[in-house]
């Protein structure tokens, strides 16, 4: 993944992320090739955690060819649309940029989205795509570079109706 240099500041330095195994950060995590000492620990660990902790990476486990791992990363996020009876799931990795994502969402939920501008957000259609990032904050889709978005997006919510109108006029 490449990060844009904004004002000569490498965004990667300020990034907070929990990467999936196989992504760049995972290599820096502790790699152990032997988990003998953890034997009993793993068995008794039943606690549910709200955010998955960075797992200690075991080299070569599970035994999946690295060729397959690299080609196969999946990152599903739930997508909700205000007023729709059920949620959908999409794999963010299948999109390369915002226009592709928005088009897919438009097709999925049968709406048209207004034009995005940095200053005014999405104008015109009363539909505003938002997402929840790793910190739990709700953000407007489109503000940050695509790579940063796709790695920090946890779920999507397409606001419409009165909520959206209120936002629209506030902006």
């Amino acid at each position: 993944m490449t990060y844009e240099k904004v004002n000569e500041l490498n965004l990667k330095d300020t990034e907070l992320r929990l990467g999936l195994p196989g992504t760049e950060q995972a290599k820096e995590e502790q790699e152990v090739s032997c988990v003998r000492s953890n034997k009993r620990q793993l068995q008794s660990d039943n606690e549910e955690e709200s955010t998955p902790p960075t797992k200690t990476q075991i080299v070569g486990w599970p035994p999946v060819r690295s060729y397959r791992k690299n080609n196969n990363s999946v990152s599903y996020v739930k997508v909700s649309m205000d007023g729709a009876p059920y949620l959908r799931k999409i794999d963010l990795k299948t999109y390369k940029n915002y226009p592709e994502l928005l088009k897919a969402l438009e097709n999925m939920f049968k709406f048209t989205i207004g034009e995005y501008s940095e200053r005014e957000g999405y104008k015109g259609s009363g539909v505003i795509p938002t997402y929840e990032d790793k910190d739990g904050d709700w953000m407007l889709v489109g503000d940050v570079p695509w790579d940063m978005f796709s790695s920090s997006c946890k779920r999507l919510r397409i606001m419409k109706g009165s909520d959206a109108l209120a936002l629209d006029s506030a902006l």
């Binding site: 090739s33 032997c34 035994p63 999946v64 060819r65 196969n72 599903y76």
Partner: protein
């Protein structure tokens, strides 16, 4: 009276022997049979490229037309073997080029192949027909271009999951300008784009092409046009299946696919979108092989596809198929022989992908012909394994990967010993087994007692003591390949069963309790074994009691190899100095 069969008669009889195992047995009967057999063997298979010297092989088989070689240990697939370990194709290609210029086929697996190798192949074998490289690395698209342009009779060019220095799509233009004799082309592992017009032209002048596997960068909008130029395809690997198509394009693609009347095998399907599944409906009823392992499509869309594949014999899919999907497979795919379920890497907690042991139980119940399984699952139960064994005593290959190391039966908290016992007891023809989950020495006692036909066994995070290894080495009579990681095995079992190791192709052990001293002892005791210690961070001093990180032991008649890198230690190197070239033979 000369009681020997006349040479010509023997030769004729032996010409009917296809299977190399039979040929090997035949060649050991007596000297004249050995001589006759070796003069008639056309297809030569060498399971470990370091077990014998290229020169010997070249000399022994004057009629050799096909050579298959394997290099690195299997665990290299999972990054357990450092780069530079070895497995170089060059000495073999050089030897064959000099002595067997009529060689037509070279098949390599897990070997280092350079552009120089490929150029040598192109330059040396005038009738060269078939190049199949699986999990190889070290070459670029320039080498491919050399083969494409020079081997005028080239029939098969298959790059299966290789790591290639991809310099661009030009290599495709190097095939002969007039018609080609291509029957099979697989470039699915390449990254860069090939020009559509180049590909179209190639297809148009390759009337014999039966198998075509595109790479991911071939987009969906061009697929129809390609297929129209190759309606005779039996195997198709598509490119990306997620690009946007308008209704007219969808209709054209649907039609083009329906025209592939001979199509039996479908793969590729990268990022297959649910809305494109109906496009595939027309080919489903004829399919015998379907590889969905790169298709990130989920349930219930998968059911729409699989319920139409009644002739399916081989299915590779991701765990996105869930238990529900496997139930459909059990109901609809009655011809299924091979099933592989790969982990999607989806965080299972978050995405509610429910693939459990039940999925495999369903398939084992419904698919009577199922004989080969690779199944990744988070956890398992003994009861499920017992059911599976009861349902399918015809398993030949059973590889279960319980992804949580040391995971017990999640219902009873017991080790999975009894489950695997059922498998080896019932499946009398089992050739290959991978075990996982919490296992004690008992499991291995059972395997040693029952798995008499077992050839290959993979073990990780299992066992209590050295006894486990002893059970295996003394019990499994046909064992040829054993690979073990993270198990508490040590020196005793290894040294006590040293002779067994000469009956096997290889033994891999990593993160176990084998000592340096034992490695030295084994090397000294067994001169026909190469004992290689792999250690990327060697200590300054190495007392005999110090544990070794990784060892790879294999039988060989070629003596110690001369191409070991710094991090591979053998007894023939001086440990103090680091590297030496002590040549014993």
């Amino acid at each position: 009276m000369d009681r020997r069969f006349p040479f010509k008669v023997l030769e004729h009889i032996f010409s009917f022997l296809d299977v190399n195992e039979d040929r090997n047995s035949v060649s050991m009967v007596c000297k004249s049979w050995f001589e006759t057999e070796r003069r008639t063997r056309k297809r030569v298979f060498v399971g470990n490229c370091y077990a014998v010297s290229p020169l010997k092989v070249a000399r022994r088989f004057p009629k050799m037309r096909s050579l298959t070689l394997k290099g690195k240990p299997h665990f290299a697939d999972y990054n357990l073997v450092p780069d530079g370990w070895g497995g170089y194709a060059w000495p073999w290609i050089e030897a064959m080029a000099a002595r067997r210029p009529l060689l037509e086929e070279i098949r390599l697996k897990r070997m280092v192949v350079t552009d120089e190798c490929l150029e040598k192949i192109a330059a040396s074998f005038r009738d060269f027909k078939s190049l199949v490289l699986t999990s190889c690395e070290g070459f670029s698209t320039d080498g491919i271009a050399a083969v494409a342009s020079t081997c005028r009779k080239l029939r098969d060019l298959e790059l299966r999951e290789c790591i290639v220095d991809d310099l661009g799509g030009d290599w495709l233009t190097y095939f002969p300008e007039t018609s080609t004799s291509l029957a099979s082309l697989d470039f699915s592992c390449l990254d860069s784009e090939v020009k559509l017009s180049d590909l179209e032209r190639l297809l148009s002048r390759s009337p014999n092409l039966k198998s075509l596997k595109l790479n991911r960068s071939v987009t969906l909008d061009v697929l129809a046009s390609l297929l129209r130029r190759a309606p005779q395809l039996v195997e198709l690997g598509t490119g990306s299946f997620s690009d946007e198509l308008d209704p007219e394009e969808i209709s054209k693609l649907t039609k083009a696919l329906s025209e592939l009347k001979q199509l039996k095998s479908l793969s590729g399907l990268w990022d297959l979108l649910p809305e494109y599944i109906p496009v595939l409906y027309s080919v489903c009823p004829r399919l015998t092989s379907l590889n969905l392992s790169y298709a990130t499509v989920q349930m219930p869309d998968l059911i729409d596809l699989l319920s139409r594949c009644s002739k399916l014999q081989k299915l590779w899919v991701m765990d996105l198929i869930e238990d529900k999907g496997l139930k459909t497979v059990a109901l609809c795919c009655k011809e299924l022989r091979e099933l592989r379920v790969f982990p999607s890497g989806a965080d299972l907690d978050e995405t509610d992908v429910t693939l459990t042991e039940q999925g495999l139980v369903s398939v084992s119940e419904g698919c009577q012909k199922l004989e080969s399984v690779l199944y990744f699952c988070v956890q398992f139960t003994n009861a499920a394994l017992v059911s599976i064994a009861k349902n399918r005593p015809n398993f030949r290959c059973f590889r279960l990967c319980v992804m949580e190391p040391f995971a017990p039966d999640y219902r009873t908290q017991q080790p999975l010993d009894e489950g695997f016992k059922a498998i080896v007891e019932r499946c009398k023809d089992l050739r290959r087994l991978s075990v996982s989950g919490l296992l004690t020495d008992k499991a291995f006692e059972y395997i040693g007692v029952h798995a008499k036909k077992l050839r290959m066994l993979s073990i990780a995070f299992a066992g209590d003591s050295d006894l486990m290894l002893h059970h295996l080495l003394s019990g499994c009579e046909r064992l040829k390949k054993l690979e073990i990681r993270d198990c508490p095995f040590g020196d005793t079992a290894l040294l006590e069963n040293a002779a067994k190791l000469e009956t096997m192709r290889s033994l891999w052990m990593s993160s176990c309790f084998v000592s340096f001293g034992a490695c030295k002892q084994l090397s000294q005791k067994m001169p026909r074994l190469n004992v290689e210690v792999i250690d990327e961070h060697p200590p300054k001093t190495r007392p005999d009691s110090s544990p070794v990180e990784r060892i790879y032991i294999y039988r060989t008649v070629a003596g110690p190899r001369q191409d070991t890198p710094e991090f591979v230690w053998t007894i023939h190197k001086n440990p103090e100095v680091g590297v030496s070239r002590l040549s014993i033979r």
